[in-house]
């Protein structure tokens, strides 16, 4: 492999000069520069990033830690992040925790060992070991989707989004509303959305029958199963609407409802959260909330870049959202 030394030799200069020419730093005569560039061109020389980053402590790489690589939400966020970063010449190092808390921590450390300049975490849970690790590695850090104490966080306004959806259902006349959530180890999706739902129901003096509550695991299948369970448990007092905290679970639930011959929204109205592609094209189209994930990703990346430049930035950013009313209610 050609190295900077080879180039230096061929161009009859020291490697210092080659380095300066390539990085536009310091003084280099026009003559030397030309000679160097020509040889770089001819040889196809590519500088070693490992050597560079060993010396400079920078890599031009941002690490991303995802709970799942295969959901639309994460894809959109990653896409947004990449858009912002690529413009500035940064690359993305991807890791997927498969929802494993231990891996989350492991990957933070691994990314540090790889000298990433910053880390973006799509967090799904909050715990002390995680926070401690983030402190320890001492790398510009950013969390999307969960508020991590002491860490710059971009959070969706889960509470109000869920509250708006619930209110909307109530205004449409629904009084018996079923709910499919997720574990509240996930404070945002599991905690806040359910809290908002319960708060709004209470505000309107509407009872929440615990038979109408299900807990899924984000998957379409779990939506299907939980809907089945809810209907079984409420034979004599069927809910007239369902609030699923993710589109995928809403879709699974609709699948079951259709199978059983229920009409949506006449027999049961359904809402989700996420504004997935599918929500738009299925029949009936699904009422949902758009979290502008691409934009969240873009914002996250540019905030992180600002952090890298040592700009002081706030700790918490609340993202906007938008209700999308469609045919399922």
């Amino acid at each position: 492999m050609t190295t900077i030394n080879d180039i230096a030799q061929m161009a009859n200069v020291s490697r210092t000069t080659v380095s300066r020419a390539l990085n536009n730093s310091g003084y280099v005569s026009e003559d030397a520069r030309k000679r160097i560039m020509k040889i770089v061109e001819e040889t196809g020389y590519i500088p070693s990033q490992s050597a560079k980053s060993l010396r400079t402590k920078r890599s031009g790489v941002i690490g991303i830690i995802l709970p799942r690589l295969s959901t639309e939400t994460t894809t959109r966020v990653v896409n947004g992040i990449n858009e912002s970063l690529a413009k500035e010449g940064f690359q993305i190092l991807l890791t997927d925790t498969e929802l494993d808390k231990q891996k989350e921590i492991e990957y933070i450390r691994l990314l540090k060992s790889r000298h990433v300049d910053g880390i973006i975490l799509l967090a799904t849970n909050v715990n002390d070991e995680l926070l401690k690790t983030i402190q320890e590695v001492d790398i510009p850090f950013l969390s999307i989707g969960q508020e991590l104490p002491g860490v710059t966080s971009l959070v969706y306004d889960d509470y109000h989004a869920a509250a708006d959806l619930t209110n909307m259902l109530i205004h449409k006349g629904h009084e018996k509303i079923a709910f499919i959530g997720v574990t509240n180890e996930d404070p945002s999706v599991g905690g806040k959305r359910e809290q908002a739902f319960r708060d709004i129901m209470k505000e309107n003096d509407l009872p929440v029958d615990e038979n109408w509550i299900g807990e899924g695991d984000f998957s379409i299948d779990s939506g299907y199963e939980q809907m089945k369970k809810i209907l079984k448990n409420s034979k004599d007092n069927r809910p007239t609407a369902l609030f699923a905290v993710t589109d995928r679970m809403a879709i699974g639930a609709m699948e079951y409802l259709k199978e059983q011959g229920y009409k949506i929204p006449e027999d049961i109205a359904v809402v989700g959260i996420g504004a997935s592609m599918m929500s738009k094209y299925m029949t009936p189209s699904l009422t949902t909330v758009d979290y502008f994930n691409d934009e969240a990703g873009r914002n996250a990346a540019s905030l992180l870049l600002r952090k890298l430049k040592n700009e002081e930035i706030e700790k918490k950013f609340e993202l906007s959202y938008r209700l999308i009313l469609r045919d399922s209610v």
Copy 2:
């Protein structure tokens, strides 16, 4: 930052011994090993990958070059790749060309500079400069989706998949079949699928009216627009079926058809390729071809890993597929 030297000093050994302890290479006494590990634990020491990879020429990172980060197909492939790689302790460095041929080449070189151990390219086109660059960088290389001469390639059986779909439509009695393809700079999606379609039509002595042919750009919108164009151009001789080479374009086309009040499949049958999530949940559900993208990704990764171990492997692998018959035909 703590380095191997700090650890060595604290443990009263040379850094050689620390290195050996950490990498389980050579002899290290139980006593020394324990002392070292304890200190590593306490200090939270993380070895620098830059230094390591500068010395060893390996990074434990595989570069991936995608045409788009945001489609289901690529996501599924990446997911599969990651599954295989993560097991072996490799990470993924992601780049997105946004369908720009020049970036494809740029990123290959960039990935080399980052000392990736191998590169997986989801190619969308084949050209000499690309092939030349791949030769030049001399890194274990693998292509998915296009056959690149001289490069280990995993290819979908586009020809037969498209032929099967066309035959199926013909057996259902369709004789006037419209077609929405993409540019044939993409030899697989653009070239082979259209070729198969035309071949099968010819075999069955069925005419292909050029008014029934559209060219989209993979997007849902383009499917919508091309369908509109086709119907406008064939007022007096409307096709009874549509073959779109991707699910997304099929979905766009269905969107337009529904808007215009056509019944699917009664008035016009529609098929796509890709087995997207959406194809399953929309109404009517879309007949399509499943390319098992996850598996393709997994296979690609494990083939690449075998290459890294210097195993000799074949140049071309043809992937299997499966027709999924649904309600849209």
